[in-house]
Symmetry: D2
Subunit: 337 residues, 4 copies
């Protein structure tokens, strides 16, 4: 961490700053120029103490020289993390498509969707059993019954399951039925939930909060990894901006940015990001071209009957057509679906 | 809810829409013009079903005609909600100032701050025992020990306590020691936590998520009230924008907007909203002028020693000076501190 | 335009609203329900009068039923607009790549870049002669001399030229030397400049303001077309959000959204949108996959010598490698480069 | 400007950086630590060359140590700038209220509004003769005729006039009739217009672009001052965020932030910032409490007849009531209206 002091800094001020750096266990590194005085605080995680220096009136600017995260960083692990779920490799050369309804509704419906998406080339089934809904009066999900349906449909189709846990007490329950535990965007900074997810043995897919910076997103992944679970998938799902033509603004630059900063696999969820059915196939193509390791796509047999998120669900036929296009784009960027 | 159909809508399309409205238990109200066909869906909470109609290709626009929240609305309750905590009335003619350190650190420090802010006119002590921190390696709070210190300092000073619960299992614990249970901005859409907060008997202060719309904010309050806890305080604490001169952008318009839409008391937290010490007193004045029922302000004896949020803490002397200014502004808008 | 009246609306209120609709030359269309009264105002451009009704206390909501733009809309013209510049077709099956330095610096440098990008497959040369710079003390462009260099380099290489006009008095000057007149993002709502651009015979490339909604963007194109110039190219170049890892957030969803709403060709400028050299090739690929009709890319022989925008310029070798990848992606989505 | 080099920087890399710093006329200041190498580039306006270093792969971070603006800064001029217009002092102890219709419509209407607002205590009349409208089909203002009406109403009431110039050719025309030349938010980075405004002798009120950072806002003021016009008033008028309950989000923190960074007077325009009539008086109070030197408020005799911006205009009676409240708030913060 580098501290630039105000031009008015006296020798006494500088001494106080240096003394505080030492007190905290770091090495001060003073560079006094004619016009500006710079003090480096050298040592691991010095940046975590930045508030202490930010509170000093004499400090004008603080610049980190190291990232605040460690385990998620490329510096910590050069090669891409590849996560194995059954025979499937996430983060390898294949682009993994997960599809399914927003909410699990009935077993029959789920099974029928699963069969169809599998034929089209999807590798995973998604569906919510616990649903974070803006309104307390809206359908809140089937709960454990939904989890059971997912597990049964997996038995029948072989498709691994991804589904969400919403609170600390649900993580182990979800992990029992699901292959991947999802943490939703609204819980990206629910730190106790992240810690709990870090204690499970199952891979975790962490969605980016819709107003989280990429750095905050990586810090939340660090919470999970710090508990010993290194199988984390990061998922961009749209950020909140002033634009209202789409539900959120899908930040596809996040894909190359995260892949530069981190070794973890990156998914994209265009269904939530865009929120309008007809734009989803195009944005799925763009996501694959942007380097995504996987996609999560909502598919429903009859979107206007869906208990949630109908407007952004594809019909199986639309999904099937899109998959053909995605395969071509994947090949063009040297990957397979 | 009013549905505007596309110009291409056929008689059959219209019939399907009307049939679906009836199926869901609402009354369709058809208004067919030369250029546009409008169908009203009349009935309680019709808007909750908007996704079903949004998924229909024939529907061009959907307009709510009622709010998606009920218990929090001014329509439900005309007069302002006044919440009593000991002798203090929140939402009445007094503007309530809560102050204290970001985190509870030691009992001695907490007590000294409490005594000083009380002399300056603060009516409540704040301080975090469970701390939501971006980094897993940062100080996470003293936990129950911190709660005990808060309760002891209350005994010694008479100042009611407000402190945060971060997960579903902490709510009853926090409620045991604290007068008001705070739900933090990052948990504003942690719906299970909201439900749990709705089951406690203690008043709840709900902070606005930093990218939540006012409508989403009110929906989260509705979650708490729907469980039977009607003592909810809403707290604006800054939203995330592109501006970096301040930590967040304090959205003071939210105060009159919420007071128009809801009967609940509204607080403002300029310390987190602005995040820079020297701008906080001015923004506290502006908050009172904007009609806030209370403020939460961070005060620390020695900000550069604070274990968190040093740069935005006021010194007791700064706080004392500010309180004099606030009293004048409060009187100018017909209130008291 | 559909007006929903407040529940408290009296018969007299309704009469006043209907009378005003007639006064303005529209037909009122009343639909009085038990719980809600809706009044349609039917007629061309009724939405332009929405402020008049918005100012009435009895009006609760206003919903447009037609778009505020006309000439730019798909309804006005079903088939895609294809703009011919020399032999090149913009908006046809080819994806057009324009490349070149941020600013025109010397003729030699410009020529050398032009030759290199042409070999790699670029179809147009870009370069600023008039430069909108945040600081009055920064390099402001070569002015007319820069325009002359561009025209000379066109003669030598055959590459059509695109360059920016910054004020009403520069439009005809720029049009004399350039094949396409660019209106920059900061001038997207410089309405007098738009009108002037509408009077030239040359095609206009209009960049999206970095906080403009897509609707506002289309309205600005409407300004140009309303003056009789129908050859408008729209260019997404990143919007301003809270994320700081990239210079702006490239809103690739804007491509399919605009192509749905309008018949005009859509370009993307990933160099300005992302602003970090190493992410640009990936985002160019994603832009093509998202359906862009063209790209604008900054290329410089020696980015650290560039007088502006060095950090986001590609080297010719990087550009060449990228073009190969782009050709594959273009083919995968049924287009050619 | 301080450059932090990547850990991989070799001696040769460092030499190249230092050489380039010298070439540009600055002094390099090397500080080589065990873990990090920092190079200062010392000299005036070094920060303007940051792109050159940003384009070098070896540079990891760049930190400015001086502001990119000079004439607008507090460092350049310690005491507040006070601008005299007739007998009125802007930036002094009085808070100046400018009021009037959005657009000038008829002389009679303008005069009647002027008389009423003067009685209530307004010190200036505002009204647009040239109107920046999103739609080319909307009322574009009366042009020079509107300017004449403004000047005549000034003669009759004594109220100084503020009105907008939209392009480079209008500045001298507007300056002939108006006491203060306004540059609108959409033109904040219309740099040629800023230069032109810098050449007039009249004071300029510069509105903040709705997605401009405070630093960019100050840089635009620097453009005006760099031409020799030191009488610049800065006006906060709301920034664009995701919130839709108000038209924009009024960023009141901008007031103390700007007053800290600059000596120039700061106005607030709550009418455009909030855009909803009933919230405007409250936000005017908050603006005064936040330290604004003046307000611009839209007042119209009959908002539903207004040719533009009806929903955000106050009636004279509402304005009069508000002025009483504002006077009390002004006194509470040590000022007068």
């Amino acid at each position: 961490m580098i501290l630039t002091l105000k031009q008015t800094a006296t020798k006494k001020d500088i001494d106080i700053v240096c003394k505080k750096i030492k007190e905290l266990g770091f090495t001060p590194h003073l560079s006094k120029g004619k016009e500006v005085t710079v003090v480096g605080a050298i040592g691991q995680n010095a940046i975590l103490k930045k508030d202490i220096f930010g509170a000093m009136d004499v400090v004008a600017f603080i610049m980190p020289i190291s990232k605040p995260y460690k385990l998620v960083s490329r510096e910590f692990k050069k090669e891409n993390t590849v996560i194995k779920v059954d025979d499937m490799e996430i983060g390898g050369s294949d682009v993994i498509i997960a599809a399914g309804p927003c909410s699990v509704e009935t077993k029959e419906l789920l099974l029928e969707i699963a069969k169809k998406i599998k034929i089209s080339g999807a590798k995973m089934i998604r569906g919510g059993a616990f649903k974070p809904r803006t309104s307390p009066y809206a359908f809140q999900g089937l709960g454990e019954k939904g989890l059971k349906y997912l597990a049964e449909v997996k038995k029948m189709t072989g498709l691994p399951v991804i589904t969400e846990a919403m609170n600390v007490n649900q993580v182990s329950l979800v992990a029992r039925y699901s292959d991947i535990v999802q943490i939703g965007a609204r819980n990206m900074q629910n730190f106790d939930l992240l810690k709990e997810a870090g204690k499970t043995k199952k891979p975790v897919l962490l969605k980016r909060g819709f107003s989280a910076t990429i750095e905050e997103f990586l810090m939340s992944a660090e919470y999970i990894m710090a508990q010993g679970n290194y199988n984390v998938i990061l998922c961009e799902r749209g950020i909140r901006t002033f634009e209202t033509a789409t539900r959120f603004t899908l930040d596809l630059s996040a894909v190359p940015v995260i892949k530069k900063l981190s070794h973890l696999p990156v998914f994209v969820d265009p269904s939530h990001g865009v929120g309008v059915r007809e734009y989803i196939p195009v944005m799925c193509r763009a996501s694959v071209a942007a380097g995504a390791d996987g996609l999560i796509v909502e598919v429903h047999l009859c979107p206007e009957q869906a208990l949630s998120d109908g407007p952004q669900s594809l019909l199986p036929l639309q999904f099937d057509k899109m998959m053909d296009e995605l395969k071509a784009v994947a090949r063009a960027v040297g990957r397979e679906i």
